[in-house]
Symmetry: C3
C-alpha cells in the first residue's frame, strides 16, 4: 500500500485538470420559451430518478457480497463522481459530437455512469479504490467514442437516428457488460478463482433494495429523453417488460434450480428493462411483455447455467454476472428492434451492434492491462484491507 | 413440492393468455394539446412515486418477519408483476367501466396492486409463491368489480361521483384488508397459531425503511389523479394527517404498552394516510390533522389491544396486522367524509362502504378456499423451504 | 420513567393547541393561471424529494449507531411530525414575515425540519423521545426568527435579498449545527464521554443508504424554490459540487487516516452540497466543483482531526459530527458567496452569518438548559430503555 500512496492524488489531479482546462465547460443557452423550461423541468425529475438508480440501485444491488458492502457503496460513489464531471466536460468541449442543453448533457452523463457501473460489476471485489477511479477515467472516453459513432454519426459511419436504441440496450447495457468482460479477461487471478463470493440474509435483502430501486425508476431511464407526448406509452412498455421478466425469472429459477435463487430474482427480474431499451418507444404493449418475458428467461438461464461454464472454460469471473443481466439481454433487445421498429435499416442496426462489441471488448482489454500498474487488491471480496473497522 | 411443479407454469400461462387475447390492450389516443401532455407527464411522476410505495414501501414493511425477508420481497415483486398487466388488460377490454388514458390506467392499476399487497400482508408467511400469484390473479377481478360499482356506477347501483374516496380509504385500503381477513379465515392452521412471528433489530430497521417510503410518497398516492390546481392543498392535507398519526402513535404506544413498540411506529404512523384518503381533497388543514391523530390512536389501539383478542377469539392470524392499519382506519376515513365533504349523500356513502365490505369478505373467503389446491407451505414464516441458501 | 408519564401527552397537547388556535392556518389562494399551477406542481415534486431526504436521508444516516437504530428512526419521524405543522401554522399566522403560497410554505417548513434534524444529530443517542419532541417545538421559533431576520428583512436589520443563501448553507446547515452544539454544551455527561459510539457492518450500510438518499435529492433541496429557467444550471452545480466533495473525501480520508473511514465517506461526501447552497444559482460549473472539493477536504479534516480535539478540550460530544458536516462547510459556503455572487454587499452577508451564529448558539444553549426537566436517558446510544424487544 505504502508505495502507492501517491496514487491517492490521482482523483484530485483529475479534478484539478478539469478545473484548469475547463473554460469551455457546458453553459446552456438561457431558456426564453416557458414550454421549453417546463419540458426541461420534467426531464430534471427523470434525471433525479436516474441518479437514484445509479447510487441506490446499482450501489445496493452490489452489496450482495457479504463482506464487501462498504467497498461496493464507496466505489459506487467514486465511480459516479468521476464519470459525471468528465463526461460533461468532454461533451461540452465538443470532442465527440455536438452541443446539447444542460439538462440533456446531465442525462447523457448519467447514462455513461450507468454503463460504467455495469462494467464495475464485472470486476467487483477485485479492484482497489484508486483502480475503480482510474477505470472510470479511462472508460468514459471509450464510451463516448462508441456513443458518438453509433448514435451521433461519428466518423460518418452510421447516419444519425439509424440505430434504434432509445433506452440504451446496446450502447449502455451491452457496452458496459462487454467492456467489463474485457477488463475481467486480464484481471482474474488464481486466488480469485478459488475464493467463493458469499452472500447472507442481510446482504441479500440489501441487494433486493437495489434491485427494487432499479425496477421502480427504470421507466424514467428509458423515457428520459423521449418527447413529452410519447412518454406515457414508453413508460408503460418498460413497466410491462419488467413485469414479464419478473414473472418468468421466478418460473425459470425454480425450474432450472429446484428452488428459488435470490440472486436470480434480484438480477434477472430486471432483464426486461435492459431488453426493452432499444424498442421502448416503438413496441406495442404485447410486444413489450413478450420481450420482457424472453429476456427474463434468457437472463435466468445465464445465471443458472452459463455462468459456471463461463468461469470454468473461459477462466473469467464476472462477479455480479453482468454478462447475464446486461450483456445477453442488451444484445437481445438490440436485435428485437429489427422486427419491431418499422422502417429500420437492418444493416445499420447490426453494424451498430458490431461496433459496440468491438470497441467494448478492445477498450476493456486495454484498460484491464493498465489497471495492474496500481498494484493488486490483497484480500478479494473483503472490505478489510481498505477500510478501518 | 414435486407434484406441484407444473404449478410453476401458472404465471407463464397467465402471461401467454394475456398475450394471445390482448389485441384490445389499452392504446391511449395521441395527445395533441401541450397542456394535456404536461399534465400527463406530471401524473407520471406520481405514478413512479406510487411504484416506489408498492415495491420498496409495502415490500420492506413486510421484511419485519426476521427469517422471511427474501420471500416477502420476492412475493412483492411477483404480486405487482401479476397485478399490473391483468388490471390494465381488463380495464382496456372495457369489462368494468369505460376507457381511460394510458397514464390514468397505469395509476388505477397501481391502486389495485396496492390493495392486493395489503391483502397479502394478512396472510404473509403462510403462502407459497405460486399461491401469491394465483391469489393476485383472482383478487384483481374482485377488486375491479367493487371499484366499478362504488366509483364507476357499475350495475347502476351508485351514481358516479356520489362516494367520496379520492385517496382510496374505502376501495383500496379497507377492501384490501377485509379481503385479506377473508383469505386468512380459511387458511389459518394450528401450526401457524403456535409459531411466533419473530423480528430482530435488522428486520425492524428494514421495516422502518418500508414505512418511511410509504410516508414520503403517500401524498402522491392520494393526489395522483386530482386536478392540478387542487394538488397543493390535497398533498399538504395528507402530510398533516401523517404528522398527526405519527405523533399520536408514539403517545399511544407508550401509553398502552409502557414502552415503544417499533411495530406500532412502523405501521400505525401511516394510519393518517389511510384515513385521510376519502377526504384528502376536501378537508381543511385542521380537519386533516384531527383525522390523522384519531386514526393513529385507533390503529395503535388495534395493534396493542385488539390484535391478540382477534387471534384468540376469532382464530385468525393477520400477519402484518392489516386490519389495524388499513381496515379500521380505512373505514373510519370513509365515515369521516360524512361530516367533512359538503353535499355528500349519506346513503350513497354508507352503501358504498357496505358493498365494499360484502364483496371483500366474500371474495376473500372464496379465494381462501381455492388457494389450498396448490398445497400448503411446509415451514411458515421462513424462507428455507422455497429459497436456496 | 414513571414520574414522567404525563410528559407523553406533550405532543398530543401541542397538536390540540394547534387545532384550537388554528383558524388562521395557511389556506393558499386558488390558482387560476395554468402556468402557475404547473410551476406549483413541479415544486411539489421537489418537496417530495426533500421529504425523502428528511426521513430516509437524515433518518438512516443516523442509524450508524449500532444499537440505536430503532430510536434514531423513530426520533426522525417524531421530529419531522412536530416541525412541519408548527412551522406551517406559525408561518400562516404571519408571526414571522409575510404570507406565501401553500406549496412554498410546505418547502420552507421542510427546510426548518432539515435544520432541526441536523441539531438532533449533535445530541443523538442522549435524549429520550419526549425530549426530541420538546426540542423540536422550541427549535422552530428560534429557526424562524433567524430566517426572518437574515432572509425576510425581519426587524429591518438586513434588506430582503441582500444575503445570498438560496440552498441554505447559512440559515439551514450552519444554524442547525451550531444550535446543536449549543444544546450539547449543557447536556454532555461523564457517562456519555466514556461510552463509545459503536458502528458495525450492518449499521454502516444503513448509514450509506441515508447518505446516498441525501446525495441523490440534494439538487432538489437547493433548487426547490429557484425559478424554472434557472433550475438546470442550479441543479448541475449542486451535482458537480457533490462529485468534488466525494472524490476529495476519499483522498483526504486515506491521506489523514491511512485507511478509509466509512463515516468520512457517508458524511463528508455530502459537504459539497452543504457548501454550494449559498451560491448554487450563481456559481459557474468550475466554481461549483472547486467549492465542493474544498468543502469535502475541510469536512474530512473535521472528522479525522478536529472532532477528537473538540471532545477532549471542549467536553462536547457531537454524536454525528454535525459541526464537521454542516457547521464548517455551511459557514465556508456562506463566505464563498463573497467572491462568487456579483454585486453582493459584503457587510450584509457577514452580518447575516454573524446573526445566525449568535441566535443559534444562544437558542441552543437555552434549549439545552430546558431539556433536562424531562429527566435523562438512562442508557445512552441504546434502544433498550425505551423500546420493547
Amino acid at each position: 500500500m505504502k508505495n502507492y500512496k501517491w496514487l491517492l492524488f490521482l482523483p484530485l489531479t483529475l479534478v484539478l485538470l478539469l478545473v484548469c482546462s475547463g473554460t469551455s465547460f457546458a453553459q446552456g443557452n438561457g431558456i426564453a420559451d416557458p414550454l421549453a423550461a417546463i419540458a426541461d423541468d420534467q426531464k430534471y425529475n427523470r434525471a433525479i430518478h436516474i441518479m437514484a438508480m445509479l447510487l441506490l440501485g446499482f450501489g445496493f444491488l452490489m452489496v450482495f457480497v457479504r463482506k464487501y458492502g462498504r467497498s461496493a457503496l464507496t466505489a459506487t460513489f467514486l465511480l459516479v463522481s468521476i464519470a459525471l464531471p468528465i463526461y460533461m466536460w468532454m461533451k461540452s468541449s465538443n470532442i465527440f459530437g455536438e452541443h446539447v442543453s444542460e439538462i440533456d448533457c446531465l442525462i447523457y452523463a448519467e447514462f455513461a455512469a450507468a454503463s460504467l457501473l455495469i462494467t464495475a460489476g464485472a470486476v467487483l471485489g477485485r479492484l482497489k479504490m484508486p483502480q475503480y477511479i482510474l477505470m472510470g477515467a479511462l472508460f468514459i472516453p471509450c464510451y463516448m467514442l462508441n456513443e458518438w459513432i453509433v448514435l451521433g454519426n461519428g466518423l460518418n459511419l452510421i447516419p444519425k437516428g439509424a440505430v434504434a436504441d432509445t433506452g440504451g440496450s446496446i450502447v449502455i447495457h451491452a457496452f458496459g457488460a462487454i467492456f467489463g468482460l474485457g477488463v475481467a479477461l486480464t484481471m482474474t487471478t488464481k486466488q480469485e478463482m478459488e475464493k467463493p463470493i458469499e452472500a447472507d440474509a442481510t446482504s441479500d435483502r440489501y441487494s433486493m433494495l437495489g434491485s427494487m430501486v432499479l425496477w421502480i425508476f427504470w421507466p424514467s431511464f428509458c423515457g428520459a429523453l423521449v418527447p413529452m407526448e410519447a412518454l406515457p406509452h414508453t413508460v408503460i412498455n418498460v413497466i410491462l417488460a419488467l413485469c414479464g421478466s419478473t414473472l418468468v425469472t421466478y418460473v425459470a429459477s425454480v425450474g432450472l434450480r429446484g428452488k428459488i435463487s435470490l440472486a436470480d430474482i434480484a438480477n434477472a427480474a430486471l432483464a426486461g428493462g435492459v431488453a426493452i431499451g432499444a424498442t421502448c418507444d416503438h413496441a406495442t404493449f404485447m410486444g413489450a411483455i413478450i420481450i420482457g418475458a424472453l429476456a427474463g428467461g434468457l437472463s435466468t438461464f445465464g445465471f443458472a447455467v452459463i455462468q459456471t461454464k463461463q468461469q470454468r472454460l473461459m477462466k473469467i469471473i464476472d462477479t455480479c454476472g453482468v454478462s447475464n443481466l446486461h450483456g445477453l439481454p442488451g444484445l437481445m433487445g438490440g436485435l428485437a428492434a429489427l422486427p419491431i421498429v418499422k422502417g429500420l435499416n437492418m444493416g445499420h442496426q447490426l453494424f451498430g451492434i458490431a461496433i459496440t462489441i468491438v470497441i467494448a471488448i478492445t477498450g476493456g482489454f486495454i484498460v484491464g492491462k493498465i489497471l495492474p500498474i496500481l498494484g493488486r487488491k490483497t484480500e478479494v471480496y473483503d472490505d478489510a484491507d481498505e477500510f478501518m473497522e
